[in-house]
Amino acid sequence: MAQASAPIPRRTVPVSTAELRELIAGIDTVADLKKLKEETLFQDAGADSLDVFNLIVAVEDKYGIVVPSDHLSQINTLAKLANYLNERVA
């Protein structure tokens, strides 16, 4: 149920993990995720459920998508999150 005041234009460049790291930098997380490696599981980096939920909410807001419940468990690394977004917004 992400709400946006204006349509979010389709992207012409892929979403990068560096871009996602910038998004993470704006979230108060329990672990230091700023240098999170692309293939490291969020949980292995110390992120808890609230961190992951907040990241997905930030993604929904920024990219104007809704992440269905059954997709959440698949998005467990930065690389998978970038791939997921590129299949939908790029």
Binding site: M1, S49, F53, S69
Partner: protein, 194 residues
């Protein structure tokens, strides 16, 4: 405040955890005592139910149970919450049923139109969020994060409206006072892990 301040908070009603609605004003008091009367607690995060006395500190703490931010002018000052070994010594009665009785609600919103004496704004918003959450599932929703753009006022109506439902386990609510968004609450189903 090198070692922080232990907050003197009671359990409310039949709850065996400290309520955000009590933590927020207590931390606000600490912040204003430390930084001056214009300091405002702009965010508060609790990562697990707090069942013992809490120490609020402005020194980083590994493995803290929660965190907060204080807005003071252009500064955003981080703080940490730590569970101490001290038991919570007091319990006070609390009955939120008058809030529920006064609320009007739909699938994604709840609202109190007229002033409701005897309840702090935070208490009213918590009850409104629980009313909407209960429409999705009877399982208890747990308030885990508060973000405030501006301090609470006494202006009605009060309204909460769903911004995100995530996985049926996490929700973000806008808080509105007098038709102006003042911040958000984030809630999680009790016992949720991803």
């Amino acid at each position: 405040m090198h070692d922080g301040v232990v907050l003197d908070l009671p359990f409310k009603g039949d709850r065996d955890y400290l309520r955000m609605a009590d933590l927020h004003p207590a931390i606000q008091g600490v912040a204003q005592n430390y930084f001056g009367p214009s300091a405002q607690v702009s965010s508060l995060i609790v990562r697990r139910p707090l069942k013992r006395a809490i120490r609020a500190s402005f020194q980083p703490v590994e493995g803290s149970s929660g965190s907060f931010r204080v807005r003071n002018g252009s500064e955003s000052i981080p703080g940490w919450l730590v569970e101490t070994d001290q038991q919570v010594a007091r319990r006070v009665p609390y009955d939120s049923s008058p809030i529920s009785a006064a609320a009007v609600s739909g699938p994604d919103f709840a609202r109190i139109v007229d002033p409701l004496p005897g309840f702090a704004p935070f208490d009213i918003f918590v009850s409104l969020v629980k009313i909407v959450g209960a429409k999705r599932t009877p399982r208890p929703w747990w308030l885990c994060q508060v973000n405030l753009d501006t301090p609470f006022t006494d202006e009605f109506p009060f309204e909460v409206r769903v911004l995100h439902w995530l996985g049926g386990r996490f929700a973000v609510f806008n808080l509105r006072q007098a038709d102006t968004v003042i911040g958000s609450f984030r809630t999680m189903l009790d016992g949720t892990s991803i």
